[in-house]
């Protein structure tokens, strides 16, 4: 048995599992997206384009765009919140570094639904925050049932997926690079911009992708924190499956969503590949 034959065997269980239980089912979704619902309300495979005509209806495209907008905002805010804290821990965490990271992760062990619901209790019109504000004479502010609440909930839900990759790339970066930057007369801001930031590009990219893509498909935040105008594509799809019982339409919405996302996914994979061809730049990755 050849060397490579031996190692290839390790690919088999995982490869097979992912193919049969991930790729094939996704193909099923694709197949069903061309199907229809019969008189008894059952989903039937066929080749019809009706669902796509519906999915691209001007009614639903804004829902998709809204979801992408929310997810982009979420990724941007996560980056703004996450980068400095990752930087602080990696550079100044000292011996508490690992404790600080563990503390970031702890809130994520309270169930996502419970955590999100806690925001409702905090931010409701007669909730804790408003009653505190009331005590200092600020009149009631509506936080929940707004797009801001949805984005806030998403940020809270996915922040850790931004921090960890960035932290990892900062941690891997050679600290002397920053010193070299300063030595070469870089102001701290310039050093950050021209040395630290490019060195951690891959971590930032990974973080953004890991936040953005799941956030697009989220339906919990909009359901619990949203208002009448914060309907997201995840809610739309979920309801086609469990409320409206229109699986084929739900499938086609899923496919359309994936099409929109695949542009981002492909872009990410491409950039990773480009990084690999340029070993100097990839050093930081």
């Amino acid at each position: 048995m050849s060397e490579h034959g031996f190692w290839s065997r390790f690919l088999l269980p995982g490869g097979l599992w992912l193919f049969l239980l991930f790729v094939v089912p996704i193909c099923l979704v694709l197949a069903l997206s061309f199907g229809y619902t019969d008189d008894l309300g059952r989903a039937v495979y066929a080749f019809r384009l009706d669902n796509y005509a519906d999915a691209f209806d001007p009614l639903y495209i804004p829902v998709l765009l809204r979801s992408i907008g929310y997810a982009l905002a979420t990724a941007a805010i996560c980056l703004l919140l996450g980068y400095p804290i990752a930087y602080y821990i990696a550079r100044y965490g000292g011996r508490h570094k690992h404790l600080l990271i563990a503390m970031l992760v702890i809130p994520f062990f309270v169930n996502y639904l419970v955590r999100t619901y806690a925001w409702v209790a905090l931010l409701a019109d007669e909730g804790l925050l408003n009653s505190l504000l009331g005590d200092v004479g600020i009149s009631e502010i509506q936080f929940v049932n707004t797009p801001y609440a949805v984005i806030g909930g998403l940020v809270y839900g996915y922040l850790v997926f931004m921090i960890l990759p960035i932290y990892a790339s900062l941690e891997r970066m050679d600290g002397s690079l920053i010193e070299a930057g300063k030595d070469l007369f870089g102001t701290p801001a310039r050093v950050f911009l021209h040395v630290t930031l490019p060195q951690t590009k891959q971590g930032i990219l990974a973080g953004c992708v890991l936040v953005f893509l799941p956030a697009v498909g989220d339906f919990v935040a909009a359901q619990l924190l949203g208002g009448p105008d914060t309907y997201m594509v995840g809610n739309l799809i979920q309801e086609q499956f469990f409320t409206a019982s229109n699986w084929p339409f739900g499938s086609s919405l899923t496919v359309v969503m994936m099409l929109f996302l695949s542009i981002w996914m492909f872009g990410y994979l491409r950039s990773a590949a480009r990084e690999a061809r340029d070993p100097v730049a990839a050093e930081g990755a």
Binding site: A31, Q240, A244, S245
Partner: protein, 375 residues
């Protein structure tokens, strides 16, 4: 997570894509197949007898039954009583059609009728139950179960409007009250396609269950106008009212009982039914054909409608039960706010129930509701 840096070339991506395409080709063979398999139905159609024949699995709304009642049943008969929850009826039917072996389910009248039509329910004789006499006569020979063979009522409710009388004034007992200016931006519509469209139908003076596309189009416009006015679309009326987000809320009467139980100022929370029409809903108990222990399930139904248990359960979940004990308990709960109470016998004529008889109508309603939410 750190090493999320695949070193991929375009060629590798293409190769992976080719693999996916190959899989698709294989799926071409699926054309015409339905997704879920038909349920295997038992050949025997004999009526179920109330006798212990194994553990049971309940499939119910969340927090709709006092756990203590299950516990005492379990202890008394030495069988396990398990429970799983759904958050809407369509999801319940979906999982049931997928062949789930539930022993006891809680459909509305409409869903019970559909399931029975599909042959998915077990038959039983109501008089084989010890406490069947206590059942309100409204449930005797209803359209959904003319021969009393498939269902036992669990609870009933009306749909109306709950409001904060310390903030909102001028409520007139009409569905128009949803857009009372005092509640602007603090009004909620129920996140239920039938309750929402039904309310709009009533407001427009149409039949509650109209499937006329033109009428539904007008109702859709009504809903869109209401949505402009609304704070949200939600079934969580209890929390929305308690935490002050809502001052006007389309709501089920039982929820108001729960609201008033949770706040310091229960007198500020009112409830009204509307003159255009009062949707009435009944949740029933049925035994699916896939049940593994139909006998125990029937026995358990009997246990639920036993007067003391009914009273205990009503006190726990805040919804009236149309049986002896349950009715009285509910009357006691709402004696401060009689509007919440509802006498099911009286509603026999004035009340209206949701009922969409075929898949096309349902699809149309769902379509309208999806469009309202997505707009």
């Amino acid at each position: 997570m750190s090493a999320l840096d695949p070193r991929l070339s375009r060629r590798q991506l293409l190769r992976a894509g080719a693999g996916g395409a190959l899989g698709l080709y294989g799926l071409g063979a699926l054309g015409g197949c339905t997704v879920s398999r038909p349920i295997e139905k038992p050949e025997s159609t004999a009526a179920v007898k109330p006798e212990i024949d194994g553990d049971i699995l309940l499939y119910n709304w969340a927090q709709y039954m006092d756990p203590d009642i299950k516990k005492r049943f379990s202890e008394k008969y030495g069988v396990a009583v398990n429970e799983v929850n759904f958050d809407n009826l369509e999801a319940m039917v979906t999982k049931l059609r997928a062949g789930g072996h539930y022993d006891l389910i809680w459909p509305s009248t409409e869903y019970a009728f559909r399931l029975q039509q599909e042959g998915l329910l077990h038959r039983f004789h109501r008089d084989s139950l010890a406490h069947a006499d206590g059942i309100s006569s409204f449930y005797d020979g209803g359209w959904w179960d003319p021969n009393n063979e498939y269902t036992i009522p669990y609870a009933y409710y009306t749909t109306g409007i709950a409001w904060r009388n310390d903030v909102v004034s001028g409520m007139a007992g009409s569905w128009n009250d949803l857009t009372n200016p005092d509640g602007a931006g603090k009004m909620f519509i129920l996140d239920d396609f039938q309750e929402a469209i039904g309310e709009a139908n009533l407001l427009n003076g149409w039949d509650l269950n109209t499937a006329d596309p033109n009428q539904l189009e007008v109702s859709k416009q009504t809903l869109l106008e209401q949505k402009e006015f609304a704070r949200g679309i939600s079934t969580n009326s209890v929390q929305n009212l308690v935490n002050g987000s809502a001052v006007i809320h389309q709501a089920w009467n039982g929820d108001i009982v729960n609201v008033r139980n949770q706040v310091d100022n229960p007198e500020d929370f009112s409830y009204e039914t509307c003159k255009e029409g009062v949707p009435v809903g009944s949740d029933l108990m049925c035994i699916p054909i896939t049940a593994r222990s139909p006998g125990t399930a029937l026995k358990f139904m009997d246990w639920i409608i036993e007067p003391d248990n009914a009273a205990q359960n009503v006190t726990w979940n805040g919804y009236p039960q149309p049986v002896e004990g349950g009715k009285q308990a509910f009357a006691g709960l709402v004696k401060d706010e009689p509007s919440i109470d509802v006498d099911i016998e009286e509603l026999g004529d004035g009340g209206m129930e949701y009922r969409l008889d075929n898949a096309e109508d349902r699809a149309l309603w769902n379509q309208v509701w999806t469009e309202v939410k997505a707009s």
